[in-house]
Symmetry: C2
Subunit: 330 residues, 2 copies
């Protein structure tokens, strides 16, 4: 199996990308096709003592900068490492792409270069997130600002396949992100999606009241990309703010530092449960081949996990399973 890696995407490229790739080669028995400027890749690897065993390099002269318009990936900036990586995937030079680059551009590349699965109407950014009860998938978490009910139904179907095949949840519970559990809550989008999912063969549990999401109310939560992105970012924002303040409380003085020793075990295991980096990145569902968007701030370990996620998608033929599931629905 060969995973195509955009060596110049994200805040810590290329160093952490190369380190993560080397780790993946070692741990996952996978080949890597690094995409980017060969000279820079080789000098970075050499300076930092990173082995490039089992890795090939595909030359790309430039980098897709965060401020570029996503659509420019198709023309003006197709020679960037991200653009070349997407083309390589489309041409079958590898089995999946992993990039920590611009989310918008990854959506564009996945949709228009790798291409959507026939019959799938929208590509979704599917994020695996932590809850008190374990991971759940939120989709769409930002690719499609506006959606129709039929899009959300496909998201539900694709998310169920992923949570079953990759996370190993039998019969994943599907919910519609909403401002109440009652069937009559929300806008036309939520109302119509509710009715449609009720008739489906998915394990639909009704509306996922937003307040209950962090407690693990469903395994797959569907939303339009605007609402999904709000949920994702409120989760990150509130957790970041609270944890930052609690950290500061422990660091305040000698007593508080000593106090930390008494709870360190509990804190560490809770942190591990909440560590979304453990699940890899966000996966673009509805595309002909697996495309993984690693977090922009990915370090070595997070990037390795994103590669592992790509490997798992290929191994478990998530794309084929999605095709089969959606054919059944049609």
């Amino acid at each position: 199996m060969k995973i195509i890696v955009d060596a110049f995407g994200g805040d810590n490229a290329p160093l952490e990308i190369l380190k993560g790739s080397a780790l993946a080669v070692k741990e996952l028995e996978v080949e890597i096709l690094l995409v980017g400027d060969e000279k820079r890749i080789r000098s970075c690897a050499e300076e930092n003592g990173i082995s490039l065993d089992n890795m090939e390099i595909l030359q790309a002269d430039t980098v897709f900068e965060m401020e570029y318009e996503p659509r420019t990936l198709l023309k003006e900036h197709k020679d960037t490492s991200l653009g070349v990586a997407m083309q390589a995937l489309a041409q079958g030079k590898g089995d999946a792409v992993v990039s920590a680059g611009s989310t918008g551009a990854i959506v564009v590349g996945a949709t228009f270069i790798v291409k959507r699965i026939k019959g799938i109407r929208r590509t979704a950014i599917a994020s695996v997130m932590p809850s008190e009860k374990g991971p759940f998938m939120l989709l769409d978490s930002g690719a499609n600002i506006e959606c129709r009910p039929e899009h959300l139904c496909q998201f539900a179907s694709m998310g169920s396949v992923y949570m079953n095949k990759i996370i190993g949840i039998e019969n994943p519970r599907v919910g519609v992100a909403n401002i109440g559990v009652e069937e009559n809550k929300g806008t036309a989008l939520q109302l119509e999606t509710y009715s449609a999912l009720k008739e489906s063969k998915l394990n639909f549990i009704g509306n996922a009241e937003v307040r209950d999401i962090p407690f693990g109310v469903a395994d797959v939560i569907v939303a339009d990309g605007f609402t999904g992105n709000v949920i994702l970012k409120m989760y990150e924002g509130v957790a970041g703010m609270l944890m930052g303040n609690i950290k500061a409380i422990f660091k305040k003085n000698l007593f508080s530092k000593l106090a930390y020793l008494g709870v360190k075990g509990g804190v560490d295991s809770f942190k591990a449960k909440m560590d979304y980096k453990e699940y890899g990145g966000a996966v673009l569902l509805g595309v002909e081949k697996p495309v993984i968007k690693a977090h922009g701030s990915s370090n070595e370990k997070a990037f390795k996990n994103a590669i592992r996620q790509a490997v798992n998608c290929v191994k478990n033929d998530v794309v084929g399973e999605i095709k089969a599931a959606c054919a059944k629905v049609e």
Copy 2:
């Protein structure tokens, strides 16, 4: 000044409502008009040793149950304590209403019995919420599932008046809740609201990236009621889940309990900063007289704070200031 209190709204009615009202009479030099079944009120007060000094009782035979359709407040259930309280406010029997009852019914009562201010197109539920830097106001947080840009502009104007007159913030910073800071982010609603607010005389700071909301990025944050409600509930949900788990870590064993002593001071002062009950309830803005929705689970102190909030709205003539501000905008 006389505050009308729905004695039978909320999970802890009438006991905590009566206790909170008695506390308000003592601390705030205010008269209370309790609305509800007189016999039940008097026996509850007697049993619990609550003084009814400076309180009158206005008889209402029934209670507005949570499962009733909000609109039934206008006809079938106008004889409930909530319905009678709203009518009393409309008739000038008091200066403001405070209820911990059904949010939907309070919106209906405020809008159609107390009535909207002339020129105000939508009544907004305005919630004062905590951030790392201090309180901010989120509106609409659930009254209007769908909104137009002109509604959000009025919300911005009303929220600025409140944060200035009641919370004491000079020149409140106004932001549009959005999935990025860039001017081109969001749906047509966010785009058009951005353009309109840029031309206004408000202290518009642009889009409030949702992830930054808990860090205090703006003093007034406007959104449609669906998005606002999602933000409110994700805030409550994530904070509730994290704090619950952290509490459990401290309670785990003797060491962790001892550890708590080392950080208790810091935890207590952080908790106080984050205690949204301190600011009272949600205020319905755009209505001819102040209407306060206290939290359904309000205890004595939370309900007293909601009465204090009503008193402050009357004292500072928030309604008059909103009328003046909106006349200027038109």
